[in-house]
């Protein structure tokens, strides 16, 4: 029975609000735009942050990536004739890191060599990645065909290559893929597998893998290419000696990543007085991205709070006017025998109906805007369920909080005075 009385109260509230349609709609606008803006902004923020977080996670949150880098002073003098630049990570660094830290699960070395792949008349610029089978455990990518590199490929120094989907399509289009022969620079390699590459051109972070990768065993790369590369420039040749171009270190758990990274930095700095390497810690970037997101959420939350406050004040304002306008009605109801609580209930329900209706329309707009942004601007947006649920709760809350004062004022009117009100 209480339920039916409640539903009749709501019906009555809706009817009363429908008497002044224009006024009710205008009153709701604050809530509509407040809630709509909150959901839309959260969706855009969530979309952007999801994109960033996905990119970072692709790098592996337990990984530390170290790249060889030409030191600045050497780079400046690199234009000199016949000059060998020696820099970068060493095979020994691999051992040192592996043995100095209990928290390091494995280290994956990589030699990165520019090359040209050729199958028949088809050619493709490639990045040869000389690495160990562990690469495929750290940089986990979907295997589309065949297999990845195995320990026996290292032991037997097999001339095998694992291509990316992109490389396979360009080089082997229309041919049987596995066991095909690919010529890369001067060597011939047998294709044993195709993997998917998740490298993207856009984005703030570079993934360890690229679309044009061709993976061969590290010792094969060492044997065939050595450690010296020659780059032909205009009139001069630049020769570089780099043992390892990249090293990926996997740490046992995310909580040890930052301390291990600091330790590796100390160890490396002992052997590399000139800073010829660059460390990147995806987890640190993840943390940074998360803290940026938190800041963003706080700013959004403040904007949301202010717009809902304004929406609430608008509703309160109209309800106060409504109470004054309906003073006689309140007097009549009290004379008939309505208790104060029932008057409060009546006005509170009207405010909540207003704020929730405004909130629901706002949710509709908040769902529409991100969709339009995705369709027309191509930006990723994610509408989260919790932002919608919170909006509903806040709408009710705004109605109750800002409806309470007008309702109390209505209930505390002296019935005798209220009945005499013109």
């Amino acid at each position: 029975m209480i339920g039916s009385r409640f539903s009749r109260n709501i019906t009555l509230g809706v009817k009363t609000l429908l008497l002044h349609k224009m006024r009710s709609v205008l009153t709701m606008l604050g809530m509509v735009f407040g809630v709509g803006a909150v959901i839309a902004m959260l969706a855009v923020g969530e979309g952007a942050s999801k994109q960033a977080l996905d990119e970072i996670k692709r790098l592996g949150s337990q990984n530390i990536i170290i790249n060889s880098q030409k030191p600045i002073e050497q780079a400046a003098s690199g234009s000199q004739r016949i000059r060998m630049n020696i820099y970068g990570l060493l095979y020994d660094d691999l051992e040192r890191i592996q043995q100095s830290f209990d928290t390091v699960v494995r280290t994956v070395p990589a030699k990165l060599i520019r090359g040209e792949g050729r199958v028949g008349s088809r050619t493709l610029e490639l990045r040869l990645v000389g690495t160990t089978p562990e690469w495929f455990e750290l940089v986990e990518r979907e295997i589309l065909a065949g297999r990845v590199m195995l320990d026996r490929d290292m032991e037997q120094s097999s001339n095998i290559v694992v291509l990316t989907e992109h490389g396979a399509r360009k080089l082997l289009a229309g041919k049987s893929i596995l066991n095909a022969q690919v010529r890369i620079n001067q060597g011939i390699y047998k294709v044993v597998g195709i993997i998917k590459s998740e490298a993207t051109d856009s984005g703030t972070m570079q993934t360890p893998d690229q679309q044009i990768d061709a993976y061969i065993p590290l010792n094969v790369a060492k044997e065939r290419f050595g450690d010296i590369t020659v780059t032909r420039g205009s009139g001069s040749n630049t020769r570089e000696m780099v043992e390892l171009h990249q090293m990926i270190v996997e740490v046992d758990s995310t909580k040890n990543v930052e301390s291990t990274a600091a330790g590796i930095e100390r160890v490396l700095s002992l052997f590399h007085p000139k800073k010829d390497y660059r460390m990147s810690v995806p987890l640190a970037l993840l943390r940074q991205a998360e803290s940026t997101q938190r800041t963003f959420n706080i700013v959004l939350g403040s904007i949301a709070g202010i717009s809902l406050l304004i929406g609430g004040i608008g509703i309160m304002n109209i309800m106060l006017a409504s109470v004054t306008e309906r003073t006689r009605e309140i007097g009549i109801r009290r004379a008939i025998g309505a208790r104060r609580k029932q008057i409060i209930g009546q006005f509170l329900i009207e405010t909540v109906v207003l704020s929730v209706t405004g909130g629901l329309i706002g949710i509709g707009i908040g769902l529409l805007i991100p969709w339009l942004i995705t369709v027309f601007a191509g930006m990723p947006t994610v509408v989260t369920l919790w932002s919608v649920m919170i909006s509903v709760v806040i709408s009710i809350g705004v109605g109750v909080i800002f409806g309470m004062y007008p309702a109390m004022r209505a209930a505390n009117l002296d019935p005798i005075v209220a009945l005499r009100h013109e």
């Binding site: 009290r334 025998g337 309505a338 009945l419």
Partner: protein, 255 residues
């Protein structure tokens, strides 16, 4: 100052009093001066009687009606409604007394404009928490009683003044109250319509309702059994009109 008691004019036995006022005072503070709107009123009203209260403005008749209607409490003295002293009641209890025992009829009808006739009539039943279906049935039979069966779906503003007052009377009757309180019920109506409303009240009185009506028009007051005149916050006179020809024609039941 002479004290009058309605009891000497009362009907039925002395136990059957709906209302009893004993030395009731109502004092308002105006600036730094106390004004006695009621100054020690004694009055007994028997069940089933029909009273008209009149008096010049400032005589205390409005205060009297508000007090009788449980919209106000006496500053001093005793007011018993259906044997219950209202002096020490809370605001909620006063609301409940009004809801249970009283029905109001106003000069300007005081219907709620956004509700239909039907919804206005059953409003007291809504606050009593009575099942909507049952309330609607009762509302329909009461509407038929006051001659409004055809108008239930209309808004008050679509009705004539007389019809609106009939709706108000139906609403006042919905909770089957002990006492009907009418404040200038014909004040906003033309004479013919006013007379028809008075005939309806007389009819209700004939069916056993206790009616207390405030009016300043002698012709209207003439419909009542007892005419009470107030002056300076007290009862100046009470006139028994039961043998008055105007009244006698209409009132058959009361002896």
């Amino acid at each position: 100052m002479t004290q009058y008691s309605g009891q000497e004019f009362g009907v039925g036995n002395a136990e059957d009093r709906v209302i009893e006022l004993n030395g009731v005072w109502k004092t308002y503070r105006m600036g730094d001066q106390d004004v006695n709107a009621l100054a020690g009123v004694d009055l007994q009203i028997q069940r089933g009687s029909f009273w008209a209260i009149s008096g010049s403005s400032g005589s205390g008749k409005s205060t009297m009606l508000n007090l009788l209607g449980c919209l106000d409490r006496p500053t001093q003295g005793k007011y018993l409604l259906e044997g219950q002293d209202i002096a020490s009641t809370s605001d909620d209890e006063l609301s409940d007394l009004r809801l249970k025992h009283l029905g109001f009829i106003f000069q300007n009808f005081n219907l709620i404009p956004q509700l239909t006739v039907q919804e206005n009539i059953v409003l007291p039943l809504f606050y009593q928490g009575i099942d909507p279906n049952e309330a609607n049935e009762r509302g329909q039979s009461i509407a038929a009683l006051v001659g409004l069966a055809e108008r239930l779906g209309h808004r008050p503003t679509e009705l004539s003044g007389g019809q609106q007052q009939r709706v108000a009377i139906a609403r006042a009757l919905a909770n089957n109250p002990s006492v009907l309180l009418a404040d200038e019920p014909t004040g906003n109506l033309d004479t013919a319509t006013g007379d028809s409303i008075m005939e309806l009240l007389v009819e209700l009185h004939d069916q056993g309702k206790t009616i207390i009506m405030v009016t300043h028009e002698p012709e209207i007051a003439a419909y009542a059994q007892y005419q009470l005149v107030m002056r300076d916050g007290n009862i100046e006179s009470i006139t028994d009109q039961t043998n008055n020809e105007h009244h006698a024609q209409k009132s058959v039941v009361q002896a």
